[in-house]
């Protein structure tokens, strides 16, 4: 699709717009990327990979928590 604008941002938009429209194998790849990113950031991060220290140490007392872990052995 050729549009008539010649400004820089218009040309940048045009590059991406036409690029995505004319993709062939890229469509499959984007689908795979979207599924993968969803699994990583939504499923894995939220349900399986919590921030351990944030869950176990009150905010601001992380140093005390880690010190207790490391020094009371």
């Amino acid at each position: 699709m050729n549009r008539t604008g010649t400004g820089f941002w218009h040309r940048v938009f045009d590059l991406y717009y036409d690029g995505f429209r004319n993709m062939t194998i890229g469509r499959t790849l984007w689908l795979v990327i979207a599924i993968k990113v969803f699994i990583i950031f939504v499923v894995l991060k939220i349900f399986f990979f919590p921030d351990f220290l944030r869950q176990h140490a009150p905010s601001g007392s992380e140093a005390e928590y880690v010190a207790r872990e490391l020094l009371n052995h």
Binding site: R11, L15, G19, G26, V32, K45, F49, F52, L53, L71
Partner: protein, 513 residues
């Protein structure tokens, strides 16, 4: 909850999960780096000649690059999740240092790669030839710079420099960004790793080209691609031999136990030979305390001394020397393990007393005295958690065999490149052609073997001498980590199957002629 209540199985599962993720992530990185240079060379040929042949050749390799690039996107992020969940003590202790290169990598990857990748794929008809060529090279450069920062972070774990421990915050704080970014280990690791990625990229191009030659399809494309891949691979292989020597030298200086494990060198000395092969049981840690060397050892005289010290008569410490303590050629004494353990325990005990004294508002003179004891022993902090000698010796069979797979594979690829350059007709024959194609999966095994040497050789440390794995790990249950490990195994296998399937389809389709 203290370290005594950590489930040992959780440590193993957390390590296995990290290894699985890193190995999977590394399937994509080397081809991005290696094929990136080759496709840029192809496009440079198009830029200089204006030939449509080179344009379609460059576009073809860029398509394969794009598939690999897309499939690798975000796989490294999972490693950072694992740091926060499974390795929280580690993350807290060194996050200030480790986080900086990772953050820079994220920014570089996002802005540089995502911008120029778009121009490279979408811009053939939109921008000038020169600008497009620059974008292709900058895509490759961006990926290489990203790799630099990741390798800086990894190198810091192998050889921590440029930091100071703050007993009040319980964190290691960066004192010199340049020391971290340009440490000798980081420089060596970057050069060696990137060169190995270039070799893998070259093997990939030679292997794929051989498939077309076997099929008698796209013969001009295959012949010329084969030649570019082989020349590039041969140059990379020559450079990697030099960088390999220098890496061995650096490892000998900074992680002598890793070198001793790679070589199964139980008792060291001067004039040390380099072991070609020996009879080491792959499933059992050898008895390095009793034996002087492994059975059935076949070695090249003086070669290990030369690799490790640049002197054929140089002194190389073995595992027992490192455990018992030894005197270096410059006269400095490396303490025994027992002494390191004692000093590490002193650092830990004094740190606990210091924090208690501070909390109770003790006298400055007491606090300063404790600080002095902490600072003079902090370099052995991690040894304070070691209970016996076996804990600080890496698993020798993996280090030993992975090193030989890496070097042996490198030699095999040199042979492949030589044949591709001087006897390319051989690759049109069935067996040699198939062998060239099989070199593609072998190159991945070889590349991963290099990482096994680096990471198994670092064990038991998450950070060399500073933090053993059983201290860096979180108080997580082994079943939780096991579940996510199995989840990853299924996810990664499925994604890999999809990638290989898309890649094979693109290869079968061939270039647009």
């Amino acid at each position: 909850m203290t370290l005594l209540s950590i489930d040992p199985a959780a440590i193993d599962w957390a390590r296995a999960q990290f290894a699985l993720t890193a190995i999977y992530h590394w399937l994509f990185v080397p081809l991005t780096l290696g094929l990136g240079i080759i496709m840029s060379i192809m496009e440079t040929k198009y830029y200089r000649t204006g030939s449509p042949f080179w344009r379609s050749t460059a576009q073809y390799w860029q398509r394969l690059f794009g598939i690999n690039f897309a499939m690798g996107v975000a796989t490294g992020i999972i490693l950072e999740f694992e740091f926060g969940t499974n390795w929280s003590n580690y993350s807290y202790l060194v996050g200030d240092i480790f986080g900086a290169p990772l953050a820079i990598e994220g920014i570089v990857a996002f802005f540089m790669e995502s911008t120029f990748v778009a121009v490279m794929f979408f811009g053939w008809e939109k921008v000038s030839k020169g600008f497009h060529l620059a974008s292709t090279w900058l895509t490759t450069l961006g990926a290489t710079i990203s790799a630099w920062w990741i390798l800086v972070a990894n190198s810091w774990m192998q050889h921590p420099v440029g930091q100071q421990f703050n007993p009040d915050t319980m964190r290691n704080e960066m004192t010199s960004f340049l020391d971290v970014a340009l440490s000798p280990v980081a420089v060596d690791k970057f050069i060696h790793t990137v060169l190995s990625a270039w070799v893998l990229g070259a093997v990939f191009v030679v292997g794929v080209s051989s498939w077309y030659l076997l099929r008698k399809r796209h013969m001009e494309f295959a012949t010329k691609s084969l030649r570019v891949g082989a020349v590039f691979g041969l140059i990379s292989s020559a450079l990697i031999m030099l960088s390999g020597h220098h890496s061995a030298y650096t490892v000998a200086q900074t992680q002598p136990m890793k070198l001793a494990a790679m070589e199964a060198l139980y008792k060291g000395g001067t004039d040390q030979p380099l072991t070609l092969i020996a009879g080491i049981n792959p499933f059992q840690q050898p008895d390095y305390e009793a034996a002087d060397e492994p059975p059935l050892k076949l070695a090249v005289p003086y070669a290990l001394s030369f690799l490790a010290t640049n002197d054929v008569n140089g002194y190389v410490p073995g595992i027992r020397d490192i455990l018992d303590g030894y005197t270096k050629p410059d006269g400095t004494v490396e303490p025994s393990l027992d002494e390191k353990i004692e000093r590490g325990q002193r650092a830990i005990t004094t740190l606990a007393e210091y924090r208690k004294a501070k909390a109770e508002g003790a006298d400055d003179s007491i606090i300063n005295c404790q600080l002095s004891i902490i600072n003079s022993n902090i370099q052995y902090f991690g040894y304070g958690y070691v209970k016996d000698r076996a804990q600080v010796v890496p698993y020798i069979p993996v280090c030993f065999y992975a090193f030989r797979i890496m070097v042996g594979g490198g030699c095999l690829f040199v042979l492949l490149f030589l044949i591709a350059l001087w006897k390319p007709a051989l690759l049109r024959g069935r067996w040699m052609g198939v062998a060239a194609i099989f070199c593609i999966p072998i190159s991945y095994i070889v590349s991963e073997a290099g990482w096994l040497v680096a990471e198994f050789g670092r064990q038991p440390w998450t950070i060399q001498d500073m933090l053993p794995t059983w201290v860096g790990v979180s108080q997580v249950g082994s079943s939780a980590v096991m579940v996510t490990f199995l989840l990853f195994l299924i996810l990664f296998t499925a994604l890999l199957a999809v990638e290989i399937s898309i890649m094979l389809r693109a290869i079968k389709k061939g270039p647009n002629t």
